[in-house]
């Protein structure tokens, strides 16, 4: 608030010249005839230019190592997926095989060397989409509450706990999902969904395990909630206070002020926060692997078992049965690498676009 902070007002008195205390006479009296021991020591030192230059090079090396690491990962992924890249080409991402003996369609069958990434791409997209669907309203609501309405005493603890959620290892989320979330969905939520929304085809009762796309989506939603929420909070705080006042002065209610003065100005950054959450959801491995069901199939029903790109790599890499199997898994990894890099870069740019200005005055 403007009026609370008194303007710094420089009076004329402060510009009066300081009294001249160090006259030449005084200096001559203080200075000894002979250089002191400290002066002699300092004079004996060299320019230190070499150490400084060495330090600069060392730091440059640290900086450049980031480029090297990213480049090496990309290089290694490309090299190791050569076999699969050459054999399947772009078809890898959509092909379907028909087994000559059983006439069954299959996407992925390491024993018969059928490798197609479609069910994993589908699983990744569906589970991430479900996660966003559930996480966005909750995260934005939480951010609005924390920045605009939360009593000061509650703001710190709530923000702290939200950030803590991001620090929990994903295998813990997976365990919690297996022991708590999946049984809960299986016993209570899924039957309800099947009964009320079964007619849409998205919920059928062919899978009694409770594992599947929906379980993966819910656990992902919980995992990306802190990211979206804390970044949304950041971009909302970056909206200048004058925007809020402008809307209030027009006779806005609190909700109208938040909608017109805050959300509208922060929307690009909020989109960035959402995309960053998406980046995390796309790449999340452990928790999803524990609840998605690990079946290389495509189902319309969200309650069916599936698999995702990160999941299939984690599940099969250690026990790959052939070179082409390994290579196909690496190619999935390469695709995931490229997509997540692009998604994250986009997100960072959008968030930067909002927060680069001056931050809001906090009260």
């Amino acid at each position: 608030m403007n009026a609370k902070v008194p303007d710094i007002h420089i009076s004329q008195a402060q510009f009066q010249p300081e009294p001249d205390s160090t006259s030449g006479q005084a200096l001559a009296e203080i200075a000894p005839a002979e250089p002191s021991a400290v002066r002699k020591y300092l004079l004996s030192l060299g320019s230190s230019a070499n150490t400084d230059r060495a330090f600069a090079w060392l730091m440059l090396l640290c900086g450049l190592s980031i480029f090297a690491i990213v480049a090496l990962i990309a290089f290694e992924l490309v090299v190791r997926s050569q076999l699969s890249l050459h054999k399947f080409g772009l078809g890898f991402f959509y092909q379907v095989f028909t087994d000559p003996d059983t006439h069954m369609q299959t996407f992925w069958d390491p024993v018969n060397s059928y490798f197609g990434a479609r069910p994993f791409i589908y699983g990744t997209l569906v589970s991430s989409f479900l996660a966003l669907l559930m996480a966005i309203p909750l995260a934005v609501g939480l951010a609005i509450f924390l920045t605009e309405m939360c009593p000061k005493a509650l703001r710190g603890p709530l923000a702290f706990i939200t950030e803590l959620l991001a620090a929990i290892p994903s295998v813990i989320y997976g365990l919690w999902a297996v022991f708590v979330l999946v049984p809960l969905l299986r016993e209570h939520v899924n039957p309800l969904l099947i009964k009320t929304l079964g007619w849409t085809g998205f919920f059928d009762d062919t899978n009694p395990t409770g594992l599947g796309y929906l379980s993966a989506g819910v656990i992902l939603a919980i995992m990306i909630l802190p990211i979206i929420s804390s970044l949304t909070r950041e971009v909302m705080t970056a909206v200048p206070h004058s925007q809020r006042e402008a809307v209030l002065a027009l006779g806005a209610t609190r909700w109208e002020m938040i909608r017109m003065g805050v959300l509208r100005n922060a929307r690009i950054g909020i989109v960035g926060a959402i995309i960053l959450g998406l980046g995390r959801a796309l790449g999340e491995t452990m928790a999803v692997a524990m609840v998605i069901g690990a079946t290389p199939e495509i189902h319309r029903s969200l309650l069916a078992n599936g698999s995702s790109m990160a999941t299939v790599i984690a599940n099969e890499y250690a026990e790959a049965i052939s070179d082409i199997h390994l290579s196909a898994l690496t190619e999935i990894g390469l695709a995931l690498f490229v997509v997540t890099i692009i998604v994250n870069a986009l997100a960072q740019v959008l968030i930067w676009a909002v927060t680069r200005g001056t931050p809001a005055q906090t009260r």
């Binding site: 608030m1 009026a3 004058s242």
Partner: protein, 252 residues
């Protein structure tokens, strides 16, 4: 048309800081009234009490009676209702950067659910003409964003935005202090034209500005109103020694 403002025993606090002490004055309708005084004297707090913006800060509070026309704003109305009647222009131009010029002016009307398209167009045009901005922006009303204008234009856009809701009182908190001299004189001309239709209260650091635009001037010092009189009297023959010291530049 504007209405008068009657202030009786107004006190305001920021936390434990008693920023306004026993303010009493009558602001005449359809005239410009200037409030002068050194920084931190409470004049901004005072105008923010007139549309109850003061209390948007959780540690702030105010007591006393403020009557806008016949309405006792602290007793008989909610802040939202008052702010629909009292427009405000801030020190720094604050147009909505994500809205077009048109939407900026129409913001207050749309916010309050006024959506008659034909008359919306008319009101936007009239408001921009009243704020002397129409000729400069009429060709890209819906193409350009409010933030693409120059600082002085942005401030006139903010005035148009405040005028669009047809306020009875227009509060201006140092409206020209962030602007260059040319833009400043445009804003002053504007105040001169508007004051026949609106009750204008303008806070200013610039005493010449007060002398140029206002019929009445109040001098604030340390949270109290030292003197309130016709502008001519304040600047030529003030009753209080402190007022004289301030306007002759002996402090502040």
């Amino acid at each position: 048309m504007g209405v008068g403002i009657e202030v009786i025993n107004l006190n305001a606090w920021y936390g434990t800081n008693h920023t306004l002490q026993d303010i009493n004055l009558n602001i005449p309708a359809n005239h410009a009234t200037a409030l002068i005084g050194p920084s931190g004297c409470g004049k901004s707090t005072f105008v923010r009490c007139i549309n109850r913006m003061h209390e948007t800060n959780p540690i702030a509070r105010a007591t006393g009676i403020v009557r806008i026309g016949d309405l006792d704003i602290y007793k008989d109305a909610k802040p939202v209702q008052i702010r629909r009647r009292v427009g405000m222009v801030f020190q720094r131009p604050n147009p909505f950067p994500t809205m077009s010029i048109y939407d900026n002016v129409a913001a207050g009307l749309k916010l309050n659910g006024y959506s008659n398209r034909r008359s919306l167009d008319e009101i936007v045009e009239r408001s921009l003409k009243n704020s002397a901005l129409w000729d400069e922006v009429k060709d890209d009303l819906k193409k350009k964003s409010g933030a693409s204008l120059s600082g002085g234009q942005q401030q006139r856009l903010c005035i148009a935005r405040a005028l669009a809701v047809d306020p009875e009182v227009l509060l201006m908190d140092e409206p020209a202090s962030a602007l260059d001299p040319v833009s400043t004189s445009k804003i002053e001309d504007l105040i001169f034209q508007l004051k026949s239709q609106y009750t204008i209260v303008i806070v200013t650091h610039n005493m010449q500005q007060a002398a140029r635009v206002a019929e009445k001037t109040g001098f604030f010092l340390n949270g109290r109103m030292v003197e309130f009189d016709s502008t001519h009297k304040i600047f030529t023959n003030p009753s209080d020694k402190r007022t004289e010291d301030y306007i002759t530049g002996r402090f502040g």
